[in-house]
């Protein structure tokens, strides 16, 4: 049995947390001259996180296979502004706030999925309620 009980949501949660950081840094720098807004390309990053799993070396058939998801990271790219400003800052507060709200919601969704997984695992372990 491949032991990946938490599925894709573990990596997704990490990437959501990373994106939360990038977006909050954009909003924090909304008034900094020459600051360029950045964002994480989520779909690519998730694909990368899935393919970049570190597999544990096994020396026997009996060893259990295991993976580590330590290497979670993604390409952080510069955003193309819709309305360039005079001071070279490319943060658009409304765009960033919408992205931040969306990301927070998706983080919550990932949490809910993980919570469900943990609940069903616990249900299976205990063999009932």
């Amino acid at each position: 049995m491949e032991f990946q009980s938490l599925g894709i949501h573990e990596q997704a949660l990490k990437l959501r947390a990373l994106r939360n950081q990038v977006l909050s840094s954009n909003i924090a720098n909304a008034d900094t001259p020459n600051y360029k807004a950045r964002d994480l390309e989520f779909a690519d990053a998730l694909k990368g996180a899935q393919s970049g799993l570190l597999e544990l070396t096994t020396t026997s058939e009996l060893h259990r296979k295991a993976w580590s998801t330590q290497r979670v990271g993604g390409r952080v790219m510069y955003r193309i502004p819709m309305q360039p400003t005079l001071d070279g800052n490319t943060v658009e507060a409304d765009v960033e706030q919408a992205a931040f709200a969306e990301n927070a919601l998706q983080y919550r969704a990932s949490l809910a999925f993980l919570d469900g997984k943990i609940r069903s695992l616990r249900f299976a372990i205990k063999g009932g309620d």
């Binding site: 949660l13 990490k14 947390a17 990373l18 939360n20 950081q21 990038v22 909050s24 840094s25 909003i27 924090a28 720098n29 909304a30 008034d31 900094t32 001259p33 600051y35 950045r38 990271g73 952080v76 507060a93 706030q97 931040f100 709200a101 927070a104 983080y107 919550r108 949490l111 993980l114 919570d115 943990i118 609940r119 616990r122």
Partner: protein
């Protein structure tokens, strides 16, 4: 846990914005102050923001806000001919500070909005962290 860094980032921005608000208050308080000596007249002050990266967060493009200093405005002073003013110089002129009240009001609104945005970010992130902590309960 990477979400904790958000507190540093948003906190640095709140710090910078509160300095900006302070400077604006100081400018508005001194708007219209006069002096007979152009050297000693109050000049509008403006903070300079710059973004900085923490070494740990460098790879992820996360950066906070740093205050690079406060500069005095080089806008010309208004010279007013007012010979009866007690501070008037030999020619009967007084110099009025170069604070632009409209500019300062706009700065104040912008600073308070940015401050609020950052408070909102901290609140949302705190909420997310609390939910993460109660995962699987």
């Amino acid at each position: 846990m990477s979400l904790f860094k958000v507190f540093d980032v948003a906190g640095s921005a709140m710090n910078a914005q509160s300095v900006r608000l302070n400077v604006t208050a100081s400018n508005l308080a001194n708007a219209g102050s006069v002096s007979g000596d152009p050297e000693s007249v109050y000049r509008a002050k403006h903070p300079i923001f710059a973004s900085f990266r923490q070494t740990l967060a460098e790879q992820s493009g996360v950066s906070g806000v740093r205050l690079d200093g406060i500069v005095e405005s080089s806008a010309p002073l208004e010279v007013r001919f007012q010979p009866d003013h007690p501070e008037a110089d030999a020619n009967g002129n007084v110099y009025v500070s170069n604070v632009n009240t409209i500019e300062e009001m706009v700065n104040m609104i912008s600073a308070s909005r940015s401050y609020r945005n950052n408070v909102e970010i901290i609140n949302t992130t705190k909420d997310l962290l609390m939910q993460t902590l109660s995962l699987g309960r």
